[in-house]
């Protein structure tokens, strides 16, 4: 049995209008693929990311690690006085703490992004249509066991009426 219905559009506005209609009809949409980010799609699909919160947490961790390391290296491990400055010299720690905080939070954010989106070098993706990266907008609607024949007909007719250039069942 086919698992999903795929609607392909060549126009962003048509895609958004059909997404709105499907949202009203409570038809769940698995995923939307597009050649560029569309904020309306995020809103309709209720997509949210916690990446900025993760970055903030990483920054705090980075700051704590950098400061602890500098304190340990300068005061405990190798207490050498440079130019009469105190061993625990906070002003001269600021720059390294600041820069290390940025590099640690950035690297961890990138790793989090790659892990959450499951992207990695050499990954073989499942491509629904080669034109997604060109000018096609693709919508995937999952076929659920509880869906009746009437529901499927309704979805198909919605897609046709909204101007889908291709409707595939896979």
């Amino acid at each position: 049995m086919n698992k999903s219905i795929i609607g392909i559009y060549d126009n962003e506005n048509l895609l958004i209008s059909v997404l709105n209609e499907m949202d009203k009809e409570n038809i769940s949409i698995e995923e939307v693929y597009s050649p560029y980010p569309i904020h309306e799609v995020f809103k309709i699909l209720k997509r949210k990311t916690k990446l900025p919160y993760a970055t903030f947490t990483y920054a705090l961790i980075g700051l704590a690690i950098s400061y602890s390391f500098l304190y340990w290296a300068s005061v405990k491990s190798y207490p050498l006085i440079y130019g009469g400055k105190p061993l625990h010299s906070i002003p001269s720690f600021i720059i390294i703490c600041f820069v290390s905080m940025i590099s640690i939070s950035m690297l961890l954010s990138v790793l989090t992004f790659l892990a959450r989106t499951k992207l990695y070098p050499g990954k073989r993706p499942m491509i629904h249509d080669l034109k997604i990266t060109d000018d096609a907008f693709v919508m995937i609607i999952p076929k659920k066991p509880e869906m009746s024949e009437n529901d499927l007909i309704k979805i198909n007719s919605l897609l046709k009426a909204s101007g889908a250039i291709k409707i595939i069942e896979k």
Binding site: E12, E31, V32, Y33, S34, P35, Y36, P37, I38, V41, F42, L45, R47, K48, T49, L51, P52, T55, L70, A73, S74, S77, Y78, Y82, G83, K85, S92, F93, I95, I96, F98, V99, S100, I102, S103, S105, M106, L107, S109, V110, F113, L114, R116, T117, K118, L119, P121, G122, K123, R124, P125, M126, I127, H128, L130, K131, I132, T133, D134, D135
Partner: protein, 450 residues
Amino acid sequence: MYNVDIRDPLITGNKTIHQVTEEIYEPSQKRPKLWWYVAFVISLCALGFGNWALYITISKGIGTWGLNNSIPWGWSIINFVWWIGIGHAGTAFSIFLLILRQNWRTSINRAAEAMTVAAVMCASLFPLFHLGRLGFFFYMMAYPNTRGPLWVNFNSPLFWDYVAIITYLISSTLFWYLGMVPDLATFRDKAKSKIKKALYGFFCFGWVGSSREWLRLESLHWVMGGLIAALVVSVHSIVAMDFATSILPGWHTTIFPPYFVVGAIFSGFAMVLTLMILIRKIYKLKDYITDSHLNAICKILVFVSLIMATAYATELFIAWYSDNEYEIFTFFHNRVTGEYNNEFWIMLINNAMIPQLFWLEKIRKNLTIVFIISILINVGMWFERYVIVITSLSKDMLPSNWAEYSPSMIEIGLFIGTIGFFVICILLFFRYIPMIAIHEVKGVLKLTKI
């Protein structure tokens, strides 16, 4: 909305989304023209010259440079600061305009970021060259070692600089690369040869353009933008501290950090302008890099040039107003007049006076003149670093220390070598990588249609 009457369209030519893909993809498919090979061979020769100079530096030592006891920093630090300055504006351009939601950045940011990565790589070579013995590079790193509990000096601005530049290189490369992943996926799906398909497929990380991917990529870009914006300002401030924390007349000034940051943005924007004019002309991308884009960069340059002029005037004023004889000597008898006055006046004319021509719309519309001025600004910015480094070191407080400096052929070779390396990077970028951010341009396309 952007498409009000007072603004020109971001992209001209009433393009469709498919056209955007085709027109940006096309140059990477054609065999390069003769000019590309000629430029590549010339750059390779320059790189070869640089490698020879590096070989002499390593095998014979820093004594082959024109340095002496009074001037231990010569061309290497000048070139370092010059390259790092150019490297700053690329990402700064892309990030500041991203944060300020300036959609016109979309046609320019990719090339600007590529330029940044190449320029920062060139910059980071000079501290290595300056070590003379490259094998001792690892002494600069902070790591527990077998020499007992021995750490680097965390209180030194030179070490801060090292940490800042490594961070800047990594972060600007990541920012550039991650922004390019969707476009590499476009190239993967368009590529006809198996090798290209496999290569672009490998480097695009399996991107498919799902809403989850887009949302997270956008979010990551904003987060990185916020972090790198702070880094851009801090890195060049730290470079400035290499000078400002010393007690040498002409260096020991609190104006240095903002003055260096603005100078970096100035030279980098000028280099972006040079590059964009070339890309527009050579690859016939007039509809993407429009007159309006170049006009906007010119206007930014004239504004930044005024800040530079204010900084030069402030330095002179404070030297006079402080009534400090060493400062007065350095600024008035060793820069404005004296044996380094030519360099000082080239700096002043190229950075503070010539860019004022951009006030005139006629000049801003004449791309040949704009191109020449963009080059002159970079020449001027190189001389600015020359004036700062050499004039202050050559004549300090003790006349018995006074010395003159002229670079040796080895130092010139190293500089020319990095120019060759930079041009090679840019040529390869033109050839194999989407030089305009395809997905970003597509995203602003609807704003240009009325």
